[in-house]
Symmetry: C2
């Protein structure tokens, strides 16, 4: 028993294959009578149209690509979940393509992907969003693109994002409100525009509170655990150490926690620690992290939605973030 084709359906339903095609594609000018006959035949034969044939014959492939170079399992998992759900709703398929933004073959790989699979659209996540050569290639091919949290050419493509500046401002202001005056900041990887945005938000909140900016309290990180731990070691070794450390990712915040534990510094008693992202990690370390919830899954859903709803038309959508207070922050001593 081989799989049913559109011809089988048309024979069983007693109509032409074009009519079957019309029903499948929800085109106009089909009588209810015909539609019903076709739908019955489809169900009876358990017919599923061949994507390959649809792609070859038509202009659409019913597939979109998700391109990323992101080492965070949590981020990718949730992004895929969001994009995947929207795809399922539209009966589209999601092709996931990890890549390496430093590879010389990056642009060719992306081009090959689009050519081979005839993708209907592309979603990119940071830091791929800001690779100029890759963007140029996509423009050349005139393929609809949605970028998640782009850092450059903001109006060149559709985009979904959160307000990183405001988010970092919120967290910093929260720590200030608790009574902290010396607040350390561990920044993120320089490849990510979000890193500098968060620094901006941090400075903005300090300034509003009339607290001077102290460059000695800002330490560069890579978004990962070791760099968070290293930054904390350095910050805690200062003559006048901070009473709170705001890390630009939960992973780095976990590193800060580990460094504090190692040094016998109690959290939040002697040191408040804050993260960013609200990944699963935030709730499985001890104490649980005060952090900024970034709706990664929703960002993915929204990205796919823009692609499917608007295609080439450029649209932008900002999603809300949220300050989540848990056990890792408290008022400073004294």
């Amino acid at each position: 028993m081989t799989r049913a084709t559109i011809k089988d359906v048309s024979r069983v339903a007693g109509v032409s294959i074009k009519t079957v095609s019309r029903v499948l594609n929800k085109e106009r000018y089909v009588s209810d009578d015909m539609r019903q006959k076709v739908e019955e035949a489809v169900a009876r034969l358990n017919y599923h149209p061949s994507l390959a044939a649809r792609t070859l014959a038509g202009k659409r492939s019913f597939q979109i690509g998700l391109i990323h170079d992101n080492p965070s399992p949590y981020y990718i998992f949730n992004m895929q979940a969001g994009v995947g759900q929207r795809c399922r709703e539209a009966d589209f398929r999601m092709i996931v393509q990890p890549c390496d933004i430093n590879s010389p073959g990056l642009v060719d790989d992306i081009g090959a992907l689009i050519d081979q699979a005839q993708l209907d659209g592309i979603i990119m996540t940071p830091p791929v969003t800001d690779v100029g050569t890759a963007l140029a290639e996509l423009f050349r091919r005139k393929i609809p693109v949605v970028r998640v949290q782009p850092g450059t050419d903001l109006t060149a493509t559709s985009a979904v994002y959160i307000d990183n500046v405001q988010a970092a401002d919120d967290m910093t202001a929260y720590l200030i409100a608790l009574g902290h005056r010396r607040i350390g900041l561990v920044t993120g990887h320089a490849n990510y525009f979000a890193s500098s945005q968060r620094l901006t938000g941090y400075r903005q909140a300090l300034q509003r509170a009339g607290i001077g900016f102290d460059a000695a309290l800002v330490f560069p990180g890579q978004f990962d655990f070791p760099s968070g731990a290293a930054a904390a070691e350095a910050l805690l070794a200062l003559d006048e150490p901070p009473t709170a450390i705001f890390a630009s990712s939960d992973e780095m915040a976990a590193g800060v926690l580990a460094a504090a534990h190692r040094r016998g510094v109690s959290v939040p008693g002697q040191l408040s620690v804050a993260g960013f992202d609200d990944t699963d990690l935030a709730q499985v370390v001890w104490p649980a992290l005060t952090t900024i919830r970034q709706p990664i899954r929703d960002l993915g859903y929204a990205a796919a939605d823009l692609l499917l709803e608007f295609g080439e038309r450029i649209e932008r959508r900002q999603l809300p973030h949220e300050l989540v207070v848990r056990g890792s922050t408290a008022a400073p001593k004294g």
Copy 2:
């Protein structure tokens, strides 16, 4: 400028399209002369064959599916990375399909996926591996299947796996060697066959050491953080609490750590804690977890390899696990 087709290549190279096809598919009976001409033309035109056309015309689709219903971002991320890498090497594409093993539409969804995309093979991860109806559907379609860590019908399909019994035995024996006699066990979700296998390994090691099995020390978990914390609370509240707790996943071990922290029980001073998997998590909690390294990425790579190398032929491959000692375990006091 529209994309190049095989006709363009054949024209530029001055050969028939069939010869181009032969070169592309690395078939026999092509002279070096021809091959070179074709390759030059392919490069010059930046030609990438249409997957849709290849799938429609040929017997293969150059796509395999990865079906999972697994809530662990880390597991999925690494599995995808492994499968994805092997796919890239073979110029195949990976279609990721999350699913819900409790959904009544599961079997239909899988069938639709295979029909629509004409997949060349399927990889399944636990617990989907052991859903009888889904397996039956795959057999009906005679599609090559590789299961990762299957729990039932072990010889029905190709499979890749680690020796869970031995791994749990190794960890338990290690704790015994440290001097522990009362060792708590937090088991995994009942849907996963690995859960009972690990219990078997635990009992096996106890028995070999002449330590009686105490059912009060075994607590059911769900592989997640809250259930680990709950289990630890219960175990630590016993009249005679264990000096070590072996959790069947790192997430649960993190829960155990949190419970210990909350109760002021020092780790590893008063309580040793061990996990399973060696996910990223193991190194970002404090203290870092002693655990069993499960080569998830390698399992994915091996699964794809079996599919691509052997197709329908049933093959099995066992991969090595590894005991990783970190700071969360030590000899018991006294």
